[in-house]
Every structure is written in C-alpha cells, then in structure tokens.
Symmetry: C2
DNA sequence: TAGATTGTTAATCGATTAACAATC
DNA sequence: TAGATTGTTAATCGATTAACAATC
C-alpha cells in the first residue's frame, strides 16, 4: 500500500470493478480472483491488483477476494456507502428518463430535486417530486446542502446553469449537454454525450 | 505527420475537438489557435497540436487553424462526413429519449430502427419509426446493412442483445445497460452509465 | 519587419505489465 | 504438502509536455 495521491485514472476504474463485483454477488458468487475479474472486464489481473493496492490489502493469497467484503471496501473508498441527494436540472425527455431511472438508489444516489424553466412543467410531479423553477434553484440546493447535480438542459443553457449550481454549493456535475463547461478548478465535472462515443467508434469502421 | 497507428486515446479526443470547433463556428468565429482551443477544453496546446499532427498539417504558423476547414478534416478522419444509420434496442424511458433526441443528425448519425420485446410497444411509432420485435432484429439489421447500434435495455437482457447484434453484422455498440459486455475483439464497444461517472466524482467529495 | 503560432523533436512524466517472493 | 494467487518491485511501455526552428 502506498500513500501518494491515487491517480484519477485508477479512481475511474474502481466503479467499474464495483459494478462487476456486485453483479457476481447477485449471481451468488462469493469469491473471485484478479484473474477472473480481469477476464470479465478485459483488464489485466496485474492492473486490478495494483489498483487495489493503493488502498489496502483486500485479498488472500491462493484464494482471491471475498466479493462481499471487497464491495464494501470499494463503496467506502468511493464514498458511496451513503446516499447522495442529486439535483437534476432540465426535465425534457432525457431528464424525465433520468428521473424515472431505478438504477441510482442501489448505487449511492437519489434524485432529490428537479428544476426546469418551462412554465408548463413547473409544478408537475415525477415520482412525487415536484418540478421547480430554475430561479429557485440556488436557494433550494443551498438549503438542502446538495453537492451533486446533473445537467440535462439544451447546450445553450448549460453554462449558465453550471455557474448557478457552483454558486449554490454544488461540487460535482454530471453534464449531459453537449458542451464543455468552464468551472472553478475544485469542481468535478463528468460528461455524457452519446455522439462523442459514437464518433470515437466510427473512426475504426470501414466506410 | 507520422505513419504509425494513432493511439485510441487520441481518437477519443478528436470528437471533443470537433464539438468545440463546431460551437465556435456557430458563434461566427472562423479562426482559432491550439492555445485558445486548449483553454476552452482544459487541454494543453501542445497536446492538441500533437494529436492533429498524426493526421496532417491543418494549421498556419502565426495564425492558427481555419475552423471550418479543420471541422471538415476531423469529420473526414472520424468517418462522420456521412450519416450512419443506427439501430436502437430497448425503447423504455431512456430509449424513447434517445429516439427523440435531435442531436444525432447534425453529427453523423440517424436512428433508423427501433426494437423492443414488449408486445404493448411493438407497432407503436416514434417519429414515424415503428418499434419492431427483437426477434426480427437480426434480419432487419442485416438487410439494412446497419453497423452501429445502441443498447438501452435492462442489464439482464444486454448480453443476449449484444450477441444477436454482433451476429447481425453490428460492428460498434454504444451500451447504456450497466454491465460489461463480452464481444469479439474486432467489435467496438463504448459504455454510458451515469452512476459510474457519479461514483468517480464522489471519491473526491468530503463526507 | 516583428509577433504569433505551427509542427516536431527530445525530455519528462506517468501508467501498465511482467515477474516473483510470500503465503494462504 | 502442492497449487494458487496475492501484493509489490522493477522494467517496460506509452503519453504528455517543453522547447524551438520554421514560417506565416
């Protein structure tokens, strides 16, 4: 185990390990090895062991890893052994789909507040959760001490929304708008844009 | 310019450059420099120049890059100077949102076929496009010679769907199901799972 | 011309892998 | 015990950056 700051690229793999391990657990498998896990994920066993070694010793020579235990460790490392309330801004088709998505709750997140600036949507409810106007966003997020947000607005609005979110105390933003956000250095941002992924693949396809 | 195979990590940045450049274009800006582009994206200017140098010389000393020209070059490199028909499997909330999304067409993609296995959905139309049963998927994709697909099914179904897609001739899969797919080595796969991104950020947040 | 910026080289930095002693 | 697999070290591999001649 080493004490230097853990590279972000390692942090980025931990959720993938966690997801795979939980799947194995749900299939009733209780023990695995770096070799087996690596084969599932297309990652070398050495890399998995090295990644984990940044945080401690979780395995047993000759046997491998107890999956339940390792899941617990990873959840603790990633800070998802708790439930993070999330603010969702933009309740169009995509925002709606996210609000309905059942996959957050078992993995550390709960959509806690919805915002949109379309008067026709404000006041509507999704799963008991009322859509609130964007101009109330700052206060509402601050009051609830929410630190994680998702942006699902059109690209035009995204930077403005991000600015307001940061001002309201948001520290981590998952941005679905197809635009690079400019935020202070201590704010984490992740991007989801399906076209980026598609274009990355078509490079390799024959015309 | 160098002739060795271009690293995938470089390919992964090209769509991001393209997206930013198109945005600048839409704002009426016609010329930019690696320095300016880098500042927008939080990437070093040297990296941008190095990345582009794998494919040719697109800039002019003292001036920078003509954005319109560079966009054209990048679209050609990425093979998106054409329209790829895409098959979408799984028309739940997320699939619906994707089917409605207007952002594909200007960036090289068009959702061309929809599949689901819910009898209640089959035959329904989204934007003139009929939802077809999954058991017709193989033939339909093969006949239309579609090579790109998106999976938006529950996790349980994703591997089975992926197997069928590969059999039908699909070469690139964008997988929204929260599960690692096992596919032959020559099939490209990209993943979108919001929770993975969220967990990658909560590591850095204070409890 | 003077100023700016490219494309490229070489140096630096960081990440991955191979190998193996330790040990379950 | 014999076989398996860990955690870690050192070597390798690859990506990023700094620097600068070329030149618009």
């Amino acid at each position: 185990m080493d004490r230097s700051p853990v590279p972000d690229i390692v942090i980025g793999r931990l959720p993938i390990y966690l997801r795979a391990l939980k799947r194995l657990l749900s299939e009733g498998i209780e023990v695995t090895s770096s070799r087996e896990l690596g084969r599932w994920l297309g990652i070398s066993s050495a890399q998995i062991r090295k990644d984990l070694s940044h945080f401690g010793e979780f395995g047993k020579q000759g046997t491998g890893y107890h999956i339940g235990k390792l899941c617990g460790e990873l959840e603790q490392i990633l800070n998802v052994n708790r439930e993070w309330p999330v603010a969702l801004v933009g309740v169009g088709d995509l925002g709606r789909a996210l609000a309905h998505y059942g996959g957050f709750s078992h993995r550390g997140f709960r959509i806690a507040q919805l915002f949109d600036n379309d008067p026709a949507k404000i006041g509507q409810k999704i799963n008991e959760l009322e859509i609130m106007p964007v101009n109330k966003m700052g206060n509402s997020i601050e009051e609830a001490r929410i630190r994680v947000a998702m942006i699902a607005t059109p690209a035009d609005a995204a930077q403005e929304v991000a600015d307001a979110l940061v001002k309201a105390g948001i520290r981590a933003i998952l941005n679905y708008a197809p635009i690079a956000l400019i935020v202070p250095g201590d704010i984490r941002v992740q991007y989801i844009d399906p076209v980026i992924h598609l274009q990355r693949m078509t490079y390799y396809l024959e015309k």
